[in-house]
Symmetry: C2
Subunit: 383 residues, 2 copies
């Protein structure tokens, strides 16, 4: 078990250590869903799940039973393994388009002080059996977390970490290519991208919001912080994405309340599936750094809380992977659900794109005036 | 207690009536939060609340203690009454800008077969003590639900209900004006607007996304279905809104999974507060109607599940009002939190408005081509 999160540490303090055993049981839980499952009566858990996971009335979420060798890999290597199924209605003209999709979350494998190439190779070694488990489960499309083969070192603002950078066909790509070929999988690979100190390492791109047409469906990648902008999600939707992955690296205190909200909203608003991935663990760096928030210098960025999950266009979602352990989340999804939800809710039809385009064009001009109607009594006071 | 929701009815069926008492206890609950509070140990409930309500690490949500006469009104008239407080950090230059905001949800008061003017007057009578409770609590801005003074009759597509329409200064406005003056409140009044059969009753507007500058802050109204479009929320934000209300009328099977997601996402993405209001109860109409979904004709639109709540720009939210009873939800909010979150996350700064404006302008053209990169192996197959 990883070091407990700062949030849990705060809970410990609040409780004054009066009830240490109970505290540990609250803090050591793997995921919200598991915490509720263990502490609620089955019928109440079912109703709470219905509300939290957005399940259609009364239907429990269907799990997929995985083969024994896959389960053995999970036990042997200690990674969380969960598998679910999103359904769409049967249609009379189109065949179901069921795709099996996987998400992997992982912590780093060696201290950040180890030689960089050793760090990378050790991550390859720990991620390999997880990818093999996905392959053996028949996963068609697999997405790894942001900057999966390195610590999330951008917080340090030190340039030495740039040595993790690779050419497009570098060793990480080749590592994944071999596995992808072996299992006939599409593996999405986000080699590195910055977040909070992004501007120290990268510049904004200008390549738009491309959608990748694979043998298994149209996918897109909304990297990390990109999830905070509803218009990024929209742009992938307008370009025809059916599954959008959000490989991330984010820590508890900062973003955990937003994590389940933004992805589900994107899936609802754009009638596509979303796969959200966050790394796990706490990464300690050799040199202390400050965070511009007045706190004293420290050597870690906080606890990466995992909690990778899938969201569906019908507003449902899967439970999340562990907040502490590596994990593989698998889900079957019938891509027909995307169009079924478009037909049902008509968001694409009712959106006022002309109005929005005009609004944004106006907003960009230096002479932009917000549309404000003031209470006449206020104006009287002011004059 | 209102008729139980269809979702609950479905649960009943699933459970085969084997455990009727337990079923009632699951179905009869007032709100998710209350269900969890009653069934989890306090420490576990605290951690679950932290995750679900997006509270900062370990801090329990602060409630406001209301005066005895207000509580008496709630008891006497049987409406749910809850009051909370959102905090912002103290600043050194700006004073706190604390506003007390209220939301009211209500069911109808007479059968839909009663004379229309009697129906309206009976709703006035039942809503009046709730508004008085808000006034006596010092609420500054109060928002009622969509079409609060009538049944949500749009589902019938019958034109007779148009008689509920009023001029801008009609009796509902005057009723609220008197109370607003008496309590020095801003009361937002949405006299009528359509939803699912909207096109039978209304046309789309072309008045943009106005923000109203009141004595207590800049507010805006995103009516009902408007909440499904992230760009509506964005437009209110660009026009400077600090609180956006979403007066709604929506039923369980259809939208309950989306209800807590869309409002919270809007508050996060646009760094403002959101007040979400939904009516309660099941409304039976004299003439049966069909819903275009193959189900046989029926006389109700489903259960309006209430669950009104506030969301804050820091991703936190209040628990929701009852799923079954009328209710008044009050919250203090320091409007400085809006700018604090803008400063913290920088969404306004990092949004790529030029890119989005260009994307939308392109999307509007008949020759629009989505940006799709196809797997070369796919192309080979096709050619």
């Amino acid at each position: 078990m990883e070091k407990i999160s700062q949030a849990c540490a705060a809970n410990h303090e609040l409780n004054d250590g009066k009830d240490a055993i109970n505290n540990v049981s609250v803090c050591g839980y793997d995921s919200l869903h598991q915490l509720l499952a263990q502490n609620l009566k089955p019928q109440i858990f079912q109703e709470v799940s219905r509300l939290l996971l957005g399940l259609n009335c009364g239907k429990p979420l269907q799990t997929i039973s995985l083969a024994e060798p896959v389960k053995s890999l999970s036990l042997k290597h200690g990674f969380d393994l969960q598998a679910f199924c999103f359904h769409a209605d049967k249609e009379s003209v189109r065949e179901p388009r069921i795709v099996r999709v996987g998400l992997i979350q992982n912590s780093i494998a060696l201290p950040t002080t180890a030689p960089l190439s050793n760090q990378k190779r050790a991550i390859f070694e720990k991620v390999k059996p997880i990818i093999e488990a996905a392959g053996a489960s028949g996963v068609n499309i697999l997405c790894l977390q942001e900057a999966w083969m390195m610590p999330f070192a951008f917080c340090t603002r030190e340039k030495g970490w740039c040595e993790f950078a690779e050419p497009v066909d570098g060793e990480s790509t080749r590592f994944l290519q071999d596995l992808a070929l072996r299992f006939n999988m599409v593996i999405n690979h986000i080699p590195r991208v910055g977040d909070f100190n992004e501007s120290t390492y990268y510049m904004e791109g200008n390549t738009g919001h491309p959608v990748f047409e694979t043998a298994f469906g149209k996918i897109a990648i909304n990297i990390c912080y990109g999830r905070h902008h509803p218009l990024n999600w929209l742009a992938f939707g307008l370009n025809g994405a059916e599954i959008v992955f959000n490989p991330s690296a984010t820590v508890g205190e900062l973003s955990e309340p937003m994590w389940p909200i933004e992805a589900r909203n994107a899936a609802i608003a754009n009638s596509y599936f979303v796969g959200s991935i966050n790394r796990v663990g706490t990464e300690i760096f050799p040199n202390p750094f400050t965070s511009g928030d007045g706190r004293p210098q420290h050597t870690d960025f906080g606890h990466f809380y995992g909690s990778s999950h899938f969201s569906a266009p019908d507003a449902s979602c899967t439970p999340s992977l562990s907040r502490f352990r590596d994990g593989l989340l698998i889900s079957d999804m019938d891509l027909n659900l995307c169009r079924q939800l478009k037909d049902k809710w008509g968001f694409r039809m009712t959106a006022r794109y002309e109005l929005y385009a005009e609004m944004l064009a106006r907003y960009l001009k230096p002479e932009f005036e917000p549309q404000v109607i003031s209470d006449p009594l206020l104006n009287k006071k002011a004059s």
